[in-house]
Amino acid sequence: MNRVVISGLGVVSPLGNSSDEFFNNLAAGKSGIGRFPEDFLPRLGIRIAARCAFDALEHFPGTIARKLDRVSQFALVAATQAANDAGLELTEAEKRRSGVYCGTSMGGITTLDLAYFQLLQENASRVSPLGIPMAMNNAAASHISIQFGLKGSCITYSTACSSSAIAIGEAFRLIQQGRAEVMFAGGSEASLAFGVLMGWESLGTLAREASDPAASCKPFSKDRSGFVLGEGAAMVILESRDRALRRGARIHGEVIGYCSTADAGHITKPSEEGLAIAMQTALDDAQISPDRIGYINAHGTATPANDVAETRAIKNVFGEMAYKIPLSSTKSMHGHLLGAAGALEFIATALSVQHQTIPPTINLAVPDPECDLDYVPGQARKVPGLMTAMSNSFAFGGTNAVLVLNRGT
């Protein structure tokens, strides 16, 4: 079995379009959440989101950009960053054994949204022939495979909010078992489309807008009311530790444990038992005892249901130790990136360990007796010696993914 390391990071996020900028903003407790422009979609009741400052024409010629849905644009930019960060050079033989695992929840939904608008609102007699190849969920992964000439496994995972954590975990397995040379793994989401925003609003899981939009998402706070939708992409390069050491790559961290489990409960309601099983299974996979975990990047959606269930599940797994382990919800700052959330938070977790700094949960102002753990409220915390951390990703549908990583050596 190979040891598996992270040798490259790429981020397009509401908190900046590089992994450094992203982590600096996290550690500074900054929020990427804001209001849509005033004239945006007046029929929506909730008009806040965590949007990326992203101009496709800075990254692609116009002739290429017009053929890529925003979700693929994000994915390609994040993948390119990750490949550059890793200093990746693959021979043709290696490319045949390298691939892409990418998670997305809604794929090219804005392209679909536009096509339906043209069909139903404008009575269009034809829609763009690029619509299907732009909107299909696997477009982002395939564009990465095409750009980098990767001819190994290229698979898109769609398990709602755990999609990209699953993608990273499954890529970890491939490298671990020696079935791939190098994997691009992560996720992308660009679903701030009218129908999607309206759908989430109807579901009642979105945060009510606070007088300061940046203060709207309040994980683990008694006055929490839900999450803020975000967009972006996060990609990592995974390879065996031996390979990375051989080529002198900088190692951002080592993946040591992963599991995917299913709640087999309710389509939207998280199961306390299911979340606990997921965390315990990941610890077992990593072959470590719970006391080794120095930080948990929580799923922390700030919905009333998630935060209580996750808190209880952590107590079930970690017992009395749960009170001593700092955990935080970085969603309070970057919003909920759905299919890209797991990968973005996995990168946040790796950088927390690398920088020995735990980013805070912001906007946690009102204690909730049911959420009584150490959520690192308000300000980042320096934790010298932080070695091992866990990143939780849970999802509608009940597919949970937990990743465990070590500081890279």
Binding site: P61, R126, S128, L130, P133
Partner: protein, 88 residues
Amino acid sequence: MTTLERLKQLLFKQYAIDGAGIKTEAPIDSLGLDSLDMLDFFYAIEKEFNIKIPTENFNFHSIQDLVDLVERTVQEQNPQPPPNITLQ
């Protein structure tokens, strides 16, 4: 603007193809567009000229054939009033 000039504008806008090098007698393949781009180009043409080209007519050889097809379809579906007539 002639039909050819409008087509050249579209080719430049969508595929950065320089119209100066385009010869009307050249085969359509000389544009270097793949099959997906060709469908996309047709879609753009339909919007530009406010026409719908029946799929069975997607069958021609040269760039001049394409110009003729567009002009014929415009005549059938979307005839413009002659420019010298002032509507009262």
